[in-house]
Symmetry: C2
Subunit: 225 residues, 2 copies
């Protein structure tokens, strides 16, 4: 297999990210490419969740993944080896988030005509990525059980900009003080509309519900084209 493509992302030249994000969203709509922005803390299980989800959806949709990291390319390689789909690595050069201009730099390295769904795996960080609209159709966030059920209280913006919260690592719930109902309540405080989906990416439990949500989103979005 070829080496994965590694793209060094530069700081955006657009001053107004919100406007730039809207432009990008419109362009993607015209091309029929649904962009999902996946965010979380470091080590919440974004890559493992993505592998499971892609394997459930890859027969229905043509999927590519952009892995954003400060350094390394382990995740892009892992995704490609475990799913066989196109996966590229974006290096942010120390930057803690991706904005729309940076996302576009990544997309420029994909043949967009070949894909229905592109997933952007954002930098592991509960603060900065929430501040920048990437141009995505939807924002998904993964919160893992070991991080604690209080995170929506401490990182309010992240939980208010997300459309779906995936609660990962439910298999280790017995070993942590994590109250799922309390966590749902905290999420609702920040964002009454966010869908909450508990999963265990390691075993695959619950991932189908997330894949179903995403498939329905893409289908509805395509219909309103």
């Amino acid at each position: 297999m070829d080496e994965v493509k590694v793209i060094e992302i530069k700081r955006s030249v657009f001053a107004e990210n919100d406007r730039d994000a809207d432009v990008l969203r419109k362009e993607l709509k015209e091309k029929g490419v649904y962009l999902l922005n996946l965010m979380s803390s470091p080590g919440s299980g974004k890559t493992t969740t993505l592998i499971r989800t892609v394997n459930l959806l890859k027969d229905r949709f043509r999927i590519a993944v952009m892995e954003a990291d400060i350094d390394g390319d382990v995740d892009a390689v892992k995704i490609r080896e475990a799913t066989g789909i196109e996966s590229i690595q974006l290096h942010t050069g120390g930057m803690c988030h991706l904005d729309a201009g940076m996302t576009r730099q990544g997309l420029d390295n994909l043949h967009l005509e070949d894909f229905d769904l592109v997933v952007l795996e954002n930098v592991g960080n509960l603060v900065c990525p929430a501040e920048f609209d990437t141009g995505s159709c939807r924002n998904a966030i993964i919160l893992s059980v070991p991080e604690g059920d209080d995170k929506p209280l401490k990182y309010p913006l992240m939980f208010s900009v997300c459309d779906v919260v995936v609660i990962n690592k439910t298999d280790v719930m017995p070993y942590f003080d994590f109250d799922l109902e309390k966590c749902k309540e905290h999420i609702r405080m920040r964002n009454p509309k966010a869908k909450v989906i508990p999963i265990c990416a390691r075993t695959g439990e619950g991932v189908e519900a997330f894949a179903d949500w995403l498939a329905e989103e893409i289908t509805n979005w395509k219909q309103t084209r």
Copy 2:
């Protein structure tokens, strides 16, 4: 008990943070106050580790804690209730890190003459806090087992600016693919001098080694005054 003090931190006015940090470090040295900057991802166990450590050291040193969070005051309250020491909450107003000027704003709310050690619990984030010298004597970082042993590869700057890496939640090691030796190797790649201390803050195992390290640091630092 009184309510904990909550301080709304403003953006720093100093353009040159490195210089400002050096000034602050010198001022603290003159006052005999050792400042520890404690960093980690969200939910790695900073507060629980701090409570254990403070309870081991509070008879030898006069300690205060500054809890930095975007919102909420649960951690400052928790620290005070579990240790009885002075604890204040810093609100960063959405900002993802503290620099030296912001740290100073927090310190201005403490009677520094009354303390030997002030611990700054930084915002939960493996990216941005690493970029800003807070004026601390030492940087400690907590990496918890569920986050994965590959984090030093993905967050290079954080692991290169730290003096000590505390590996927390060792009790759940059997449930995660975490290789302690591999993790130590990754840390050494970034920072050959960093001390690595495995602990379990929940049960208290290993915390004594961290407290001993800190006590020795403070004692040596006081002697070179």
